[in-house]
Symmetry: C2
Subunit: 190 residues, 2 copies
């Protein structure tokens, strides 16, 4: 299925100490992953955006130019890799809401994908950013499933995320040290 | 870096019992991964081909058409996922040579990526298909590095792959049961 994909990023605004307005979560995660890679801490990459190529031109012998293509719905999450021998898999999303995180931000199959990952011994989770508070959380799947499966409501309350999830330390390098939270999960689960 | 990427597959020819001529390795691996997924054996996916999007048109409100884009050199291998709690990562390539597998089929950074994967406790390997013999092997990185690092020669002799690697069982479903060979690696290494 071809879908409409956001291609333009919001313009970069000056961030205040308590807000992530204008900061792009994806960029911060990518930079953190580069830091982890460069320092031999973990190998975690963002998967390329899936694209269906329809037409390709060859203006010269060694060059291929795609002239028609469509974005495709991803069948998995955006990030995966290996850390301390564990398979890591997650999706990251941000919200401007101050009260809750809307579950429609995740595709249905991303939730079931993460469920399977955990069943197979991997570490699957979500990274959720509340832009207005300048807070980024590592949220375990249990909390998402509580609202998702029971169909209680279409969003997870901010207060419950704050209480039950891991606040990710925001710093210079790595920007978002989410593997510190993964260490806590490993300590608890394995 | 934009590179010229093969986009046209060879036409599908009738395969004889001793040859894989016309059979496409990538398709067989994808079908095997679908089988593993459907039977809850493992979660292994092919990563999308990385593409740099230059121009996008919006002919209607909910539709994005990419009108100019380029293929990019992948920074990792094509396949990864989780099996029995282990992180799995590999690249697959085929050759029409009867005597050796040319190492130029792998990007330099794919080799170093697999090296890191193993250092971090993951299971990284190569799947190599000799089309003329109808044989597909799971090749461990050690054998590749022997020829790669020592610069002995630019290809791995067929006879040595045959002797030191795992022949992957070719069947109906899964088409290529490469996880059986991964079981052997786990038994040996962990």
């Amino acid at each position: 299925m071809a879908i409409n994909y956001p291609t333009k990023k919001t313009s970069y605004q000056k961030a205040t100490s308590t807000s992530r307005r204008g900061m792009i979560l994806e960029d911060d995660i990518n930079l953190s992953n580069e830091y982890y890679l460069a320092n031999n801490i973990a190998i975690i990459h963002k998967k390329p955006t899936p694209i269906v190529v329809v037409d390709v031109d060859y203006p010269s012998r060694n060059k291929a130019v795609i002239t028609k293509a469509f974005y495709k719905t991803p069948s998995t999450t955006d990030y995966n890799g290996v850390y301390r021998g564990y398979y890591i898999d997650f999706e990251a999303k941000e919200t401007t809401s101050k009260t809750s995180f809307p579950l429609k931000n995740f595709h249905e199959h991303q939730i079931s994908h993460l469920k399977s990952i955990i069943e197979h011994g991997g570490i699957g989770f979500l990274i959720i950013c509340f832009k207005e508070y300048g807070e980024v959380y590592l949220v375990e799947l249990d909390l998402v499933l509580k609202y998702h499966d029971l169909n209680l409501r279409k969003s997870i309350p901010y207060e419950e995320i704050k209480e039950k999830s891991y606040l990710i330390k925001d710093g210079y390098n790595p920007r978002l040290d989410y593997l510190k939270c993964v260490d806590e999960i490993i300590k608890k689960r394995f």
